[in-house]
Structure formats: C-alpha cells, structure tokens
Amino acid sequence: MTKNEKRVTSNVIEQFRPLFEPKTVAVVGASTEGAALPNIFIRRIREFGYNGAIYPIHPAAKEIDGLPAYRSLGETPEPVDYAYIAIAAAQVPPLLEEARGRVRFAQVISSGFGEVDEGRELQLALVAAARTGGMRLIGPNCLGLHTPRGRVTFTETGPVEAGPVGVVSQSGGLGTDIIRRGLTRGLGFSGLVTVGNCADIGANDLLEFYLADAQTRVIGLYLETAGDGRRLFEILRGARAGKPVVILKGGRTRQGRAAAASHTGSLAGDDRAWVALSKQTGCVMADTLDGFIDALLAFQALAPQPRHPTRRVVLFGNGGGASVLATDQLSRIGLDVDTFERQTVDDLARLKLPPGTSITNPVDAPVGTLQQEDGRVAEKILEVIYGSGRPDALVMHLNLSAFVGRTRDEVLDNLVQAALRVQARFPGQAHFLLVLRSDGEPALEERKRVFRARAVALGIPVYDEIANAGQALAALAFHERFVQSRNR
C-alpha cells in the first residue's frame, strides 16, 4: 500500500465510523403509544446491546419509551452520530434543515421520493436539506442498517456475533432476508446497510469502506442499478480482488429491468457490462439470493487458493444417485469429479470396505460403511484420498434420512471430526464443504438444524444440496483463477 492509499483508507474508515459505531442515535417518528416502526427500532437496538444515548425526536411529547424527547435534530444534548428517520416523506426535508450541522448520518426510511414519479422533486429537496443540515444521507426508501460492532440493527436477530461479511443492499426487504437467512446459515456480518434510492451515499461509498475496513474480509452487494457504474468498475479494478466481492444484480434481464425501474426509479445497466465487470475485476455475479448467500458463506469459511485454483472435486458420502447427478452438474460449471488414479483405487481397496462402497470418485459410501467404528472409518478413507488423490475440494454429503434409526448420534459428529483431522494433516490442500441432505420431515429438519449449528461453529460451510455447494465452489474457483491470472 502506498502512502497515499493509506491516507485514503484511514479517511474512509474515519468518515464511516459514526455510522458503524454510533455513540449517539436519534430516532424520528416514534410515537408515545410505542407502536410505530421507530419504537420497534428503539426496542431492537436495546435488545441488541446498544448502550449509547438514544434521542427520540418528537414535536410535542416530553418522553418516548421512557426516554426524554427533543423537538428537533438540532436540540439534542450531544451531536447525533446516526439518525433513524421514519416519518411522512414531506416532513423529512424541514427536519433535516434544522440539524445545524449536529448530525453525521441520517438514514431516511420513509418512501415516496425518487422511486415514484411524483416524489422526484421531493428527493431533490431532501438532498438539498441534508446539505443545509450538514449531514450525509442514506436512503430514502430503505429499512435501516445492521452493525454488530455498533450494536445497532433494524431487524429482529437475537444475539449475534460480528463476522467478516460486509453487505450493501439496495432493497430493504432483501436486506432483511440476507441477514436472517444468512445468520441461519452461519454468516457473520461486519455490517449490512440498506441504501434504497441512494440519493446521497450509494453502494460505491460503502464498498470503499468495506474494502478498507479490517473487520471485513468478504463483500456482498445487492444492486438494482449501478449508480455510477464507471466508479464501481474503477473501485473494483483498483482493489485487485484483494477481498472477494459477490454481486447479486437485480434487473439483468429485460423483464427484470422493468421491475427494477419501477422499484428504484432509475435505469438499470445492460447485462453485458456486468459480465465484463466480473471478468475484468474478479467479482462474482450471483443469480439468486441463495446463490449469493452460498457464495458469501464459501468465501467466509474457506481461504482462496490462487496457486491451485479449485478444479478437482471429490464427492464423499451416502447417496449414489445424488452423487452421479452432482458429478454431471459440477462438470457443467467447470469443475471436475475425475475418477481416481490407479494408486488411489488400490490404496482404497486395501481398506477392505464393505460391499456397496465405491472406491473411486465420486466415493459412494452407504451408511453401513460410514457407521463403522462409529464414523471413524471416514478418516482412513479420506487419508488415502488426500494423500494420493490430490483434491482441490472435498464435498462430504450426508443424506440424514438414511441415518435415522440406524446410527448413534455421534456418528455424524465423528464423520465431520474425521474430515477435520485429515484437513489438518494436509493444510491448504482442499476446501472442505459439508452438505446435509434432508427430506423435510420435521424431526429430521430439527436434527439437521442442530447438527448444522455445530458444524457452522467449527467454521465449516454447510449446504442443503450438493448442487449448491458446487455453485459456491465455482464462485470460489472463479475468484482463485482471477487472482492467479492477475499475479503471473
């Protein structure tokens, strides 16, 4: 990093610190009855562990939710780091104008601005008011932010730890989905900001923050417009894929674009530019919300190996048909499930595994095999595979319904522990992903949930189907190949 780059980095960190770690929060729109969205916001951040000052702003009330209320943003005891604003659109500009330079960031949740024709002028007035009031503006037409380091969140999450994934979402509702589904899957967030219409601060500004932020290792963007596509390109190109970036872009098809135009009120870019962006900067384009979360999870858990980009995948688990189908699917997306070489097959044969166990890739091992020695037989199999099969990735897939009533609970744990021990003996060789397949039966789902949580706690990325794990590996492989090609 040059001296100049260091200066820019520390500037952007300092600029956004009050947003991600606010010491004072103003809430506009809370009612004395305690039922409005801003009242819920106050409750949520308290539950989330926020213990800085909270200043409700209200034209008449003395007190809201047990907190002293203030007439305007300019009259709070201390300057405001972050203001959460959910009142009628027309009332927002006058409110911002009264801030007298005492608010750092105002997030306007209210809608009725640039996303609808009749709100275009009001959005211009909003931007002008934010400038007069001396603050930076986030939104309007969004839902809030989630910042574990600042103990502020707009969504119901329960206690969560901070993690390495920084997200910007142009849609509020999808931001909620990303947090809630992501948390269930084991994602940990360094931050998630919903930016709505991006009247002032846009995805590019927050991308620059996440690139500079030491807590963030992986970045996810849900975009409906590029805003300033050229700046996005320049930021990503300058970052040289130092941190993996996954982009979920809404409106890449003609029909999707019509929906996006009515949603965010601006013209979506052409798909070919996004394909080019990905190829030139190494960012991964995801097609679906699940694909987005799957890829973020892989990047969170697995260290990219640009010196040997992922290609050779070993499938190991119970479910012959499932692994045959997965072999086809993986090869369609550029991964190989090659059969083993003679040496590996011979070594596996020497283990004298029970009949029905395939000793080439994909390695189909029925429950009868997997439960031998309470699951520890997997260690011997994987030892051979890692030793001579040289995989870039191992996908262990367990069809849980086949285990029901036949094995002790420790077997699943032992299988995973066996894999982790072999992983430790071959550091940096193969990415390890776990697929837990279920049939949707409630008791089995519950068992899967508990087991998933245990695996996630060990830092293992867990997927519902081999196809999802395959897509995530393809994303990882794309990133690895890009980094390799740019560092030759």
């Binding site: 417009t225 590029a226 596509g229 050229r230 390109f233 013209l267 070919r272 530019a273 962006l277």
Partner: protein, 242 residues
Amino acid sequence: MEGDGGGGMTTPAELIAQARAAKRAALDELAGKRLLAGFGVSVPRSRVVQDAGAAAAACRELKPPLVLKIMSPDLLHKSDAGGVKVGLGSAAEVEDAVRAMMKQPAIESARIDGFLLEEMAPVGVEVVVGGLRDPQFGPLVMAGLGGVFVEVLADVAFRICPVTRLDAEEMLDELKGAALLRGARGRRPVSREAIVDVLLKVGGESGLLMTHGADIAEADINPLIVSERGAVAVDARFVLTQ
C-alpha cells in the same frame, strides 16, 4: 498501409468536429478510417476521386487488386445499393466500374461525395471490433468473429474500457469460434497479437474510445481482416452521440 485519401493531416478531434458541423449522425467511411489511422490502426491505402477519369489516374499510385466504394451520406448499406465493387485489377476495370456504379438506380438518386478507391486487404480471417457507450459504465469495447459468428450466433465478448492486454487476450479466448484464429480446418493461424493490438488501440488506456468516448455512441470495425502478419480495418463506422 497508412491511408492518405487526399485528406492531409486531420486530427481525430477535427474529424469528429467536421462531422458534427455537417450535422451528420455518423462519420463516413473515410473519416472513420482516418480516425482509426490516427490511433495507429492499419487501414488500406486509398484515394478519393470524383469521376471515372480521375479513378483511372489514381490507379497508378495504388497496388491492385483494388476495391471501389461509393461515398454517400444517403446510402447506409453500400453493397445493397450496388456501391461496392471488389477485385479490380487494372485502370480500365476501375474506370468501367465507376461508370457502371453511377448508373445504379439507388446511386443516381443519392447525394454523392465521391468514390473511395482502396487497395484490397490480404486474405485473412474476418474479425469484428466494436464499441458502444453504456449509460452506466461508459465506453465498452467488443470483439467477435465476422460473418455468421457475430450476426447469427452473437459470438462476441464485451469489456469495459480501458482494457489491459490480458483483458484483450481473454476476450479472444472467450469466443466460441476462437479455434478459427488458431488455424482450424487446415488453415494457417492468424496473428492474435495484431487483434489484441487493435483492441488496445481502440479500447485501451489511451485508446480511441477512452479519448473520444463521449462523442461515440457506437463503433463498428467490420470487418477487420486479420492475416498471419497483421490486421487491416476494411470498413469502419462511427455513430456519434446525440
């Protein structure tokens, strides 16, 4: 193979300014080629002539075989109007071609700027290099293989400008018809280096699109004929931004 065409030293900015002053939506072929030549892209040697006699005289300065093309702001598709004649081997053939062309119905009724007499490019693979202005990302550069590959199969690769050498090489690798460049079906391989070079001159750091992207809505070098030794822009079209 630098062009001359009787235009002297006109800078790229002047070429665009002249077209705008003439209220043209696009640069004509000659201006387009001069623009390319200004960025170091090879174009055929040529002369602009006004009649059959001048065409015959100009043949002395050019090396046959030659191609004769009508120059008219009214004729978007020159070949359809009978305004292109290839493979002319002598001054007499050129003279006859000019006379025949003037009698074509579509040409008789059009405004005529003159005739472009050009040396024909050596035999090679037809490649298309294009450009367009994306409303969000700015100039993009495109590469594809000519003929059915680009027209029917849309076998093209886009990149955001400026492209690096590696970007340009990856664009060619990405084409489904990439094998043709490597010499498929018993042909000799053509110069990839020459195509990469044109992509950089058009879409690179200080290339045409980065320099004049604000003026150029669409660009088409179609075909760029690539042989073992080099690449020549045989036709060029630049549509100006509104």
